[in-house]
């Protein structure tokens, strides 16, 4: 019996990026729309780390914002623990909000520079009314210790800390409402490699200790391989492949996944053969027809230009590629 914490169905988000009305009238331009997220569906089970991987324009940050309610979906549904999220105000939504949190990418912008660290961490506790009076500072002190800082740091300001320490503060804030589910939007992209290692290890320890479920958004395949149980690969707003973490790297099904893996620099200096990467990500306002990857795909066929491929089940998960329903993928 699968315990699904988050279920996303046919999630779509379109932005109106048209020029201002007057310009459009004078220049006789059409309205322009950008579909940042296109019909995305996935589920996350309790206790796992599900990662969404993609480059710029893939829509991964938009999906993170949709899930926590910073943006409203144009179509589709998001269900948390079986309950649909409407993001209207109300007691039901408040109760749901307490159960999930978010960690942001930029450790310098995600903490209010005018607030003391203790107040920053206590904000969710106060907003949800989880404690009051002296209990609050006790809880804040405890959280600071949990993330590897000291209780005396509560009186300091964010600018007195390094990037890695600030990210720890952000994690402490995320933990303060005792959530079950945390969305991590590129949590270590702005950090140095050795600091990244500390933060990733910390996140894993916390997951083991508190039974957390993570949605990890990243562009870094190595980080994702290290942290995730299952991985979804995004391209121009669509999921092109979902697979178990380890097997995504040993047995990629989609040509874009293969291209991404080939592009990762080879630290092991194994001299592995690499297919050169072709082309760049197209403009998301005017995406290619059919399968949006077809202009760059080494195995493109006629049908790819006409029809978007359906999600097909594979040995490792699922992928959206016509090759799976047609002749076998060449090695």
């Amino acid at each position: 019996m699968v315990d699904t914490v988050l279920q996303v169905e046919r999630l779509t988000r379109t932005f109106d990026v048209s020029k201002p009305w007057l310009n459009r009238v004078l220049e006789r331009d059409e309205k322009q729309f950008l579909t940042a997220v296109d019909n995305v569906s996935f589920g996350i089970e309790r206790g796992e780390t599900f990662a969404l991987v993609g480059e710029s324009g893939s829509g991964k940050s938009t999906i993170a914002k949709l899930i926590v309610g910073l943006l409203k979906p144009t179509h589709g549904t998001i269900a948390f623990d079986g309950q649909p999220m409407s993001f209207e105000s109300g007691a039901a939504m408040r109760n749901l909000r307490r159960r999930f949190q978010m960690i942001f990418q930029d450790p310098f912008a995600s903490l209010n520079p005018r607030w003391r660290v203790g107040e920053i961490i206590a904000e969710p506790i106060r907003t949800f009314g989880l404690a009051s009076g002296a209990d609050v500072s006790r809880e804040v002190a405890r959280l600071l210790e949990v993330v590897g800082l000291s209780a005396t740091d509560a009186g300091k300001f964010p600018h007195e800390f390094s990037g890695g320490q600030r990210q720890r503060i952000a994690i402490a804030r995320a933990l303060s409402s005792k959530p079950e589910f945390i969305v991590c939007d590129e949590p270590t992209s702005a950090l140095d490699v050795s600091v990244q290692a500390q933060i990733l290890n910390l996140m894993r320890d916390l997951q083991d200790e508190f039974g957390l479920t993570y949605l990890l958004i990243s562009h870094d395949l190595s980080v994702v391989r290290h942290m995730a149980n299952r991985i979804g690969v995004l391209y121009l707003g669509r999921i092109v492949e979902v697979a178990d973490a380890k097997r995504l790297f040993t047995d990629p099904q989609h040509p874009y996944t293969r291209m991404l893996l080939d592009a990762v620099p080879d630290l092991a200096l194994s001299g592995r053969r690499r297919t050169p990467v072709t082309g760049e990500i197209p403009n998301p306002i005017n995406p290619p027809t059919g399968c949006t990857f077809h202009p760059r795909c080494p195995h493109v066929m006629d049908i790819c230009k006409r029809e978007a491929p359906p999600q097909t089940a594979t040995a490792t998960g699922a992928a959206a590629c016509h090759l799976l329903t047609e002749p076998a993928l060449p090695e």
Binding site: A197, Q198, A263, P265, D266, L269
Partner: protein
């Protein structure tokens, strides 16, 4: 084989006078770059790698200044040059590729105008000749339909294309040395691989040396011949890429390599170096790394280690090897 190196840096010191005292950002760094060689300069934020590049090309932002040491280009000193002679060297003999292609190109001028201006500043030729050279250059860096696209403005190009233009600009005057400061950090992974390849090929063709500054060890592994590891403004280790990556000698380098997640490792926990790089005003006496070093000895806390030759153009700054070298010499 004792040819004069193309670039020779000896005991370089860069300081920043502040009202709280003078900060030493680069503390006696020495290295050489041979003709046609790609030297990677790797370090985490605050290590000072960008400052070295800026010091070499004479673009240190005041109040920062070179407070000691020598920089020689083909045997001639360039760190003591006045502004005008340095300006002639900049571009003609040393080219620079910056991190952010968005701000490296002037948005108000076409690519043609910027390329032609650079070419004619350093090479006397007619406008038509300069244009031909520029088109050939753009073609060489992989811009399709170069003859037509040269008349576009920077914002008509995508990120990866813009960075190719910046590389073309850096090489327009046929410099002997190209300094590339984080050339791929702002780009997507798939584009990153393309840009690295372009940079490598075009420099190899023209016999230009490259100083590649980055925090990304993977990029170094793919591109560099030798690598220098910087820590807190000092050189920790320098040597051929394969040796340093697969057989790091300095404890910091070892920690660094261990903390990078790769696509092939199987350990569940990343190696983490405790603590963080010291701030410039809080560098400990002796070896800068000693508070965090797993193999620290008493001597490390009081005496700063010099560069120990390890054979094969390899040097380490660590007391662990001083003893071994002494034995090797006298034993």
């Amino acid at each position: 084989m004792n040819a004069t190196p193309l670039l020779s840096v000896r005991d370089l010191v860069v300081e920043f006078p502040t009202r709280r005292g003078t900060l030493r950002a680069i503390d006696k760094v020495s290295f050489d770059i041979a003709e046609g060689e790609v030297l990677g300069m790797v370090g985490e934020s605050g290590a000072g790698k960008s400052l070295i590049g800026a010091a070499i090309i004479g673009l240190l932002e005041p109040p920062g200044r070179i407070a000691g040491g020598e920089i020689r280009l083909r045997g001639e000193r360039i760190d003591t040059l006045a502004a005008e002679p340095m300006r002639r060297i900049r571009g003609k003999r040393i080219g620079m590729v910056f991190q952010d292609p968005l701000t490296s190109l002037n948005p108000l001028y076409t690519v043609a105008e910027q390329l032609i201006e650079t070419i004619r500043t350093h090479i006397s030729c007619s406008e038509r000749e300069a244009r031909e050279r520029a088109v050939a250059l753009l073609d060489r860096v992989g811009i399709p339909a170069a003859a037509r696209r040269i008349n576009d403005y920077p914002h008509h190009f995508s990120g990866g294309m813009r960075q190719r233009v910046v590389i073309a600009l850096a090489l327009a005057a046929e410099p002997d040395l190209v300094i590339a400061d984080e050339p791929t950090t702002a780009l997507d992974v798939s584009v990153q691989a393309q840009i690295i390849d372009v940079l490598k090929e075009i420099c190899a063709e023209r016999g230009a040396s490259v100083m590649l500054i980055t925090h990304d060890m993977g990029v170094i592994a793919e591109t560099a011949d030798r690598v220098a590891v910087l820590y807190a403004g000092r050189l920790a280790e320098i040597g051929p890429v394969r040796d340093v990556i697969q057989n790091a000698e300095h404890p910091y380098t070892r920690g660094l390599m261990g903390s990078i997640p790769t696509l092939t490792q199987t350990e569940t926990r990343l190696v983490q170096i405790p603590g963080s790089m010291p701030r410039l005003d809080a560098i400990p006496p002796g070896c800068a790394f000693n508070p965090r070093c797993p193999q620290v000895m008493d001597r490390c806390r009081s005496d700063r280690p010099g560069l120990v030759q390890r054979g094969g153009r390899r040097e380490v700054s660590c007391w662990l090897y001083e003893a071994a070298e002494k034995e090797a010499r006298h034993g």
